[in-house]
Symmetry: C2
Subunit: 189 residues, 2 copies
Amino acid sequence: MARAGVTVERLTLAAAELADELGFENVTVSTVARRFGVRDASLYSHIKSARDLRVRVALLAMAELADRVADALAGRAGKDALVAFANAYRDYALRHPGRYAAAQLDLDDETVAGSAAGRHSAMTRALLRGYQLPEPAQTDAIRLLHSTFHGYVTLEAGGRFRLTPREVDASWAATVAALDALLRNWPSA
Amino acid sequence: MARAGVTVERLTLAAAELADELGFENVTVSTVARRFGVRDASLYSHIKSARDLRVRVALLAMAELADRVADALAGRAGKDALVAFANAYRDYALRHPGRYAAAQLDLDDETVAGSAAGRHSAMTRALLRGYQLPEPAQTDAIRLLHSTFHGYVTLEAGGRFRLTPREVDASWAATVAALDALLRNWPSA
DNA sequence: TCAGTTGCCTAGGGGTATTAGGCTACTCCC
DNA sequence: GGGAGTAGCCTAATACCCCTAGGCAACTGA
């Protein structure tokens, strides 16, 4: 019998692809095993559990997203940087819905610490340097930006904006422009 | 044998409670049946499927949330109303994490149409009346507010803000204040 | 009272998660 | 080249969840 050549990396990648195709909630040990043409039980020499597999997909997604954002941010500043950041974020989420959903998995503190989450907020902090916000406003602004981006793409992907006819792309552009205006005039008290 | 007195309403309520206690993903036909002391198969004369049950919890949560927001909004206007809206929203999400997660369930358009989602955006529209935004800025603002609120509570509940020491309550207040400032100075172009 | 309806049960088929234990295909070292 | 050892994959078996079919008993109303 030829071996299937399963490795943790290939498993994680396959799981990520499955997530984008079928939704993250349908990423199961069985479906991944099936894609490799092996039995489910065979995967347990590579992964610890179904959750382990899902966490790996989450970490992969977070790293990929951080990479895209870093690329988009390179050489830009001010509103230019904000727009690039926002669009890279949204693009990733819409193009890889399953991966993005994975990135929202509830991870324990230790795992979060070892993830790309730190890079993400460091980049946001760098982005905000152009707006000259003092602490703690800076932290608040990071949280606001992250919340708005995350909330927007989640609601958009969930079809929650389909009730109103207004184009979601146009709303997105207006939203990012509004955030830029807000950052330039952050209320002091 | 005495009957357990199962009804769709009691099932939905029990499922909602289980969601808040164990997380929405652990709301299962079996756990709910167990709580009633009956066999899982017995529930299928009341609900159509596990998904049906979850959708009912989602609709319940959306209606409850709309109620809380409506109460908070009564008799208020301007920033006062915005703050009340925001706090009611966040309170509900944090106090009822399972229900709130349920409300995020991906529903088909027909179900969404029959839900409290319409009430929700109508209230937001009413809230914005105090800020006098013309269309399409008003729609964009609704989407921005919803995105930010939803994103914030989701990330907060998911522990994504624990990396930074800044108090989440303080950040929340600052965020809402910032949104108020933004609505009062919405960028025209 | 008794016919009909409704509520709950048992049986059973199908799927996923996971452990235990076995066989086999590579690897590398003498 | 020939074992010895490791790693990859398999079958078997348990447990839990989803759901259908069919049965009996408990209510309901004429």
